[in-house]
Symmetry: C2
């Protein structure tokens, strides 16, 4: 087999994560070790930079700069929400051909894998030798074929530490707290809210995942029951929770509440899921202090909350992508295989096995309709890594005088 | 002067912070060094635990446990929103008398200082010797007489790192980002959004403080102008921004938008300030990608984001409280005096100088109606301390082929 010699191109797609730049640094630093790769270009703003030929020459970046960028959240090359169709991919391929790109590395989720698959097809059709490797990245942890996705561990650590803090706040000032977490179809990130729970009565006490039907009536009963037991209740909710017809609760609940007679409680008129659920609890129970937060962009972008394992694996999938393409001269999607507690190895999957597909939480990770299992905790704990210290006062109560 | 011998009582009031338990540990560990203090009790749930006589005997807590609790966000004793009037304070005083409490330490904001002042008055009236010390705590940094308040530095660090991340996310996927920050009257916490800004074109590009009148029309022009310059815009907004009549924008804007004809843009119907401002930009400009987050409870409770100086000072104000009361046999509110760059000393202010008063951002910290000054940055940087690393790719653009 003759060596494939030419330029390499790397791009980042979809929502950024805390460690997506580790994968970028992995690709760039590794590719510079190979004589087959004459230059390594970075496309600005993902696939849109490819069709426009907007490239940086990363062969002229320094090791220190790449090391600092690797530690920085967000997509250093810029990203895009463009979802290329065949015509778009054809154009991408033409630009690559013009620049003598022979290695294409695309860091992203299942849409990015799909783009890789189509570009690869175009190259085959044109009889143009091009190695295409998809490098996994997503906070949702929803790619098939891999044990987990780089980016999930750090986002999970943020959510776990946010809920640990929210639980302590809720212990300080009693009431109901609702935190709404990203993840339309897969509940992995919402489930990670449990990972810094220490004492048996710590929250989150209830976890609602998109994998289970959400029943507003049952929700009120659940909350009431926890509140009666502990005098407080901390709840993790996925933004993607849906009713029995698959309709998002964020859409269906407001209509239901508007037409129903909800006592004398004034609806805030909000369409935000957290506020709607808070209004529901205020309307249907006697609980007065009900608060809701939507974690928003902080969970994927916060500076300074990175899982060590996630950081290292994100770097490694970038390095492995280059190695597979050059040493083995193959296309595919890099995947992580868990081989110990905790140890991993890497493998390459065919692009079509990953492209456009979504993984959700397996049944063994879900306990009933409002909790996760010990199996989930064992799965996720090594990924988010060490958590900060927290403790309670251990001191006896003073006997009331008189 | 004869020594005052008896029990000590410590309580925590108002919203918790990341370091309020440092002050608690400071009080407990320091008070156990004095023979004058026979026992140190902790009131559960602030003043409400005092009127109910719900105390923990912290003399029976261990050094390790207190050390771990000190590192834990939230109020370990529990807090309360009760604002005691004279009758309430009288009842508190009676319970203290019954338990032979001779030293009372209350960790909280200006309401807590006011409670201290009234309890002190009651003791004087009854000719009962009681030392009362207020220990400052607030993320809002709004206490008078002190250079800054323990709790602010850590919350400021969270906000700064959240905005650094949000800015990087906004660089990845261009658009407008609005982050809404706590602080009804004082803008210190919102202003801290600037502290991790590195490059000249980094966000936040606009900062709206409660100290300045907010004009929705001017806001739209500001945003449009930044967006034209950078192709994106990151905005920090205080939840307390108000119009020229002092009415909260969160209340006035919705009404205005409902009666105005806003083209074909559908209002989300939300009452959340961030969503309202996002709707306004979408309605009045051609910018499509507009996102808003409300930071909510995370900014005061997140586990794992503590400023080192804040942590140490929070511990010290607790220790100083005990020292003032025993060595000097006086009442007052502990305050921090900045004496160098960066160095502090502690002093004790009369309770009435702090009680019920609010400090806002001084004029020299505010630049026009949408930015802070270098003087503010110099003031706040030592308080939030070191920030995580972040960097951009430094690599030349590739010349477009053809």
């Amino acid at each position: 087999m003759s060596k494939l010699i030419g330029k390499a191109l790397v791009a980042q797609g979809g929502g950024p994560t805390a460690v997506i730049n580790q994968s970028l640094a992995g690709v760039v630093l590794e590719s510079r070790k190979f004589a087959e790769i004459s230059k390594i270009y970075g496309a600005k703003f993902g696939v849109s930079g490819i069709v426009n030929g907007f490239f940086l020459d990363l062969t002229e970046s320094t090791t220190h700069n790449l090391g600092q960028v690797a530690k920085t959240p967000g997509a250093a090359l810029g990203s895009t929400r463009d979802k290329p169709d065949e015509a778009y991919c054809k154009k991408m391929f033409e630009v690559m051909q013009r620049h003598d790109i022979r290695y294409f590395y695309y860091i992203g989720g299942n849409d990015s894998a799909e783009t890789c698959r189509i570009v690869n097809e175009e190259a085959n059709k044109a009889n143009y030798e091009l190695r295409v490797i998809h490098i996994p990245k997503t906070i949702d942890n929803d790619l098939v074929g891999t044990d987990h996705c780089p980016g999930y561990g750090s986002a999970g650590k943020f959510v776990a530490q946010a809920f640990a803090g929210a639980n302590l706040d809720n212990c300080s000032l009693l009431g109901v707290y609702i935190g709404v977490i990203m993840g339309r179809h897969a509940g992995f990130l919402t489930a990670s809210s449990i990972l810094a729970k220490k004492f048996p009565d710590d929250g989150p006490h209830l976890i609602y995942l998109p994998e289970r039907v959400f029943d507003p009536g049952k929700f009120v009963t659940d909350v009431q029951s926890v509140y009666e037991k502990y005098g407080r209740c901390v709840i993790a909710v996925s933004e993607g929770i849906s009713d029995k017809d698959g309709k998002l609760i964020a859409l269906s609940l407001q209509k239901e509440m508007e037409k129903d007679a909800y006592g004398n409680v004034q609806l805030s008129g909000s369409t935000a899921l957290g506020d709607l659920l808070a209004d529901l609890i205020k309307a249907k129970t006697k609980i007065k202090r009900v608060r809701a937060d939507t974690f928003g962009y902080l969970q994927r972008s916060f500076l300074g909350c990175v899982s060590e394992i996630d950081r290292n694996e994100a770097r490694e999938v970038g390095e492995k992508a280059v190695q597979y393409s050059v040493w083995h001269n193959v296309d595919g999607s890099v995947a992580i295989n868990r081989v110990g507690d905790y140890a991993v190895e890497y493998k390459l999957l065919p692009l079509e096995e990953v492209a456009g597909k979504t993984k959700t939480m397996p049944t063994e990770f879900i306990d009933g309709d409002n909790m996760v299992t010990e199996a989930f905790k064992n799965y996720a704990r090594p990924l988010v890594g060490d958590m900060e210290v927290l403790d309670r006062l251990a001191a006896p109560e003073v006997k009331k005088s008189l």
